[in-house]
Amino acid sequence: MLPVLNNADSLAYFWPEMILTAGAMGVFLFDLAVAKSPRRILWLTVASLGVLAAAALATSHVAGLSPTPIGLFNGLLVLDPWAVFFKYLSWAVTALAILIAGPSLEVASERMGEYCALLLAVAVGMSLMASSTDMLMMVIGVELVSMVSYALAGFKKHDRKSSEAALKYVVYGGVASGMMLFGMSYLYGLLGTTNLVGTAARMNAQAAMLAQAGVAASVAGAGRVAMVVAVVLVLSGVGYKIASVPWHMWCPDVYEGAPTPFTAFLSVGPKAAGFALAVRILYGAMSVSGGADLATAVADVPWPQVVGVIAGLTMTVGNFAALNQTNLKRMLAYSSIAHAGYILMGVAAASETGSQSVALYLVVYLFMNLGAFLVVGIVGRLSGSESIFEYRGLSARAPFAAVAFAVFLFSLTGLPPLAGFVGKFHLFKALVDRGGSWQITLAIVGLLNSAVSLYYYARIVKAMFLDKPHTEERIAVPASYNLLLGALVGLVLVFGVYFDGLRQLAGSSVVLFGHS
């Protein structure tokens, strides 16, 4: 039996979240203190980053306290390597989103305080999503991320697009969480508890009990309908977070309308947390462990195949819809849908290698996608347009940004020797490892999709390097931005050739509580 701590003992393992919560409130108050300062953006950024750094330190301390998974707060939360991994990822993406907000100027300076404080609160939400084993905590985590995100999407006050995006986001999010809650109510009805640890064993026991009692097959069939409906509805909530087909449609609109720094955040942070949650539900709860593979589903429901079909659809829709886009933010939105599809391949692999490849890809994706949005943000701000037209001849107008953008785009395509290749390679490897016919089919679909994606990524690169600019005027990218871009490019390049450490980190994180 796994150790479960009570409230008081759990606090020692809850430092990161406590620090962030206190930090969020602290930054909010600090905002009042520096309201008059002309350098308030700098101060707020530094303060928020400090809070995140403290949280990261606390995370490493907490992770060191217990190398094996333990349950916290009477089993509502859990601390296992999987959760720790995504906590680090959340802090990192939050830090980057705060870092790029200031120079982007899309967040008005008097709103910077709220922006930082709210993002810190979202970070807590993402951490909860990654570490909850109780449906109640899952909902609260998802909603904490969502609620704040709605507001942040509409952060640009007098911008029609921004408020429209927020409206779409809030209504869609509301419906999605409603579906998830309804599904959870059914799961509660089937399980008798809201805690998902040991779900699989419990469900199987119930099935055995029913069989023993000689319940007719039709009833067992209806039980499966109820279970499938329940899990699919729960996954709708998660699928909306990771923007997978058919719950992806909010994504392009919201990404386009929201302030770019927040879009960048949205495309990585909540998505990563969503994947953490999806893996936890599908393979922590809805499957029975069988050796190294996590594939034997409860009641013989073929989750891996279903996720595989969704993955294939998601990447196809994302890539093909991106082909004709001329607004780069929107194109990147579709591209991020496609990437959700790729990552779902790792989930569909239904193995330890699969989960590992998901974790690994998300790290790589963090750098390259944030980098891409960073360039779009800065070019959008300095030239006032997100159209591909503005990117013609960018290599002459802002050479470094153009080169960096090209690197990110090629990495997103998955060309060696960039980090994106490494990530994709592992996803495909995880699938091919499993070796079934539909896994191979999915891998081929994925490969074809990668080829398609090259088309629209390369179109931008071509525009940047081969087309004539419509104006010779240089785009003066701030040094801070160049520094950040350089760092991200460096990471993308370094991880492209030297990533064994990353691989081992992702590998060691594949330890899920309650699943042994």
């Binding site: 006050k157 409206l167 209504v171 409603g178 309804f182 809201t194």
Partner: protein
Amino acid sequence: MSQLAPGLPHFLVVGAVLFALGTYTVVTRTNAVGILMGVELILNAANVNFVAFDRFNPSPHLSGQVFSLFVIVLAAAEAAVALAIVLAVYLNTKTIDVTEADTLRE
């Protein structure tokens, strides 16, 4: 002769009907506030289920009721944010008809 005494399935039917009607509301209404009402219906459907399951649970520990209380709180928070955003949209575009809010498309 069967009894008419309501059991668990009766409550679940009510929940299912509320959910289906809520869904119908959100997919057909064009008034943003109307859509939000549909969301409230969906959340209520989940709540009815939770409370009913909790009541009929052979080993009652009230977790369903607690869950439903949290859902109510979440619904309230959701409504607050949503209506704030609706107001913001209204201030920007002078309408809250979602069929007219399609600047972002394709």
